[in-house]
Point group: C2
Amino acid sequence: MPKTEEQCKQMREDMKSKILKMSSVYFAKNGFGDTKIGDLAKHIGIGQGTIYLYFKSKEELFEEIRKAADNEEEVSKLKMLSKLPIPAKTKINKISEEIVKRLSDDAEYAVKITIRTQLMLENEDLYSDRVYKVLETIIKQGQKEKSIVKGDPTYLADLYWGTVFLSALKMLYINECKLITKETLNRLLEA
Amino acid sequence: MPKTEEQCKQMREDMKSKILKMSSVYFAKNGFGDTKIGDLAKHIGIGQGTIYLYFKSKEELFEEIRKAADNEEEVSKLKMLSKLPIPAKTKINKISEEIVKRLSDDAEYAVKITIRTQLMLENEDLYSDRVYKVLETIIKQGQKEKSIVKGDPTYLADLYWGTVFLSALKMLYINECKLITKETLNRLLEA
DNA sequence: TTTTAATGAATGAATATTCGTTCAGTTAAA
DNA sequence: TTTAACTGAACGAATATTCATTCATTAAAA
């Protein structure tokens, strides 16, 4: 079928990312157990067997989705931001801005957030996630600067990420839902 | 085993509610597909077959859990509250207080909130749930009174219930997690 | 014609459900 | 009081069903 080695490779990559992309929404919405390979294939518009040309098993497919959701780059970006010599309030605003922007123009971002959060809830040990820790640091800084509301930083970080999680969930389920604003996110932490 | 008709009935009811209670946590945490009847029975500490003496099918068991989560009484309580001639701020405070109280002393309440919210997300038509509507009314009142922050009431109600949902989720998954405070809930809406 | 991707019916492992048996307790006859 | 017969709940092995995975076949490109 493929013209050249190159094109062949390209086609395989396209199909693989198509499967990944469409499956991730399915898994995020329905969870692992409620996602049936048959339904999934129908939803993607391919045969059941095709999935197995690209992934060894349902488990492996899900594993790849997990990996994609766990974005190392995002964490390091956050870490850098947290170390800059600027007010905590500005940092929070930057984070809120980035999240809202990504949610609005990358549909997959909502899936990533959803899957990541579900994983965190399921593995209590993972719960104190790296992303969490960074936000906590910034909150502590902000409390010293009196620009962030008083209270347990872990708890406040929770409130913040929780709200982000919810917006992601809603985007996943509800068509044309109103996106959260950065003002709302900021207000959660403002003193 | 049973002495009288009465006692027999009592025993059946006890067992049924035991199954319901213990299953609901399982289902809320793992979802329908990932809940295996075998595991569930082991977790409850009964034989697999026993479940089928009380429920026709896994599906029906889940259905009953759903029903239990959908608490009509709670809605009418809220409706009454919303109509009282008192400031919106007071109403919100009462609601927050009640939620925090119930979350802290009725472990099943977290399950109910979780299941109910999942149902709402899955059925877009149910999303504008009665409970939502009532809170929206109160928010509108509060905005007139200038005690509630400006913004789309639906959106604000969302933020509020979302935060409640999250706390419930955390209680379900995380042992000894810090419970949300009524102050935090109130702050979400305060002007 | 050969090669490769895609397919979906066939397979079997996992899991929901059924059903014959056990067991604990009660009743009532001896 | 003892014992035999009865009751219905509980059990879990056996069976039915579902669903992930495989593979023989088709279709299409080279």
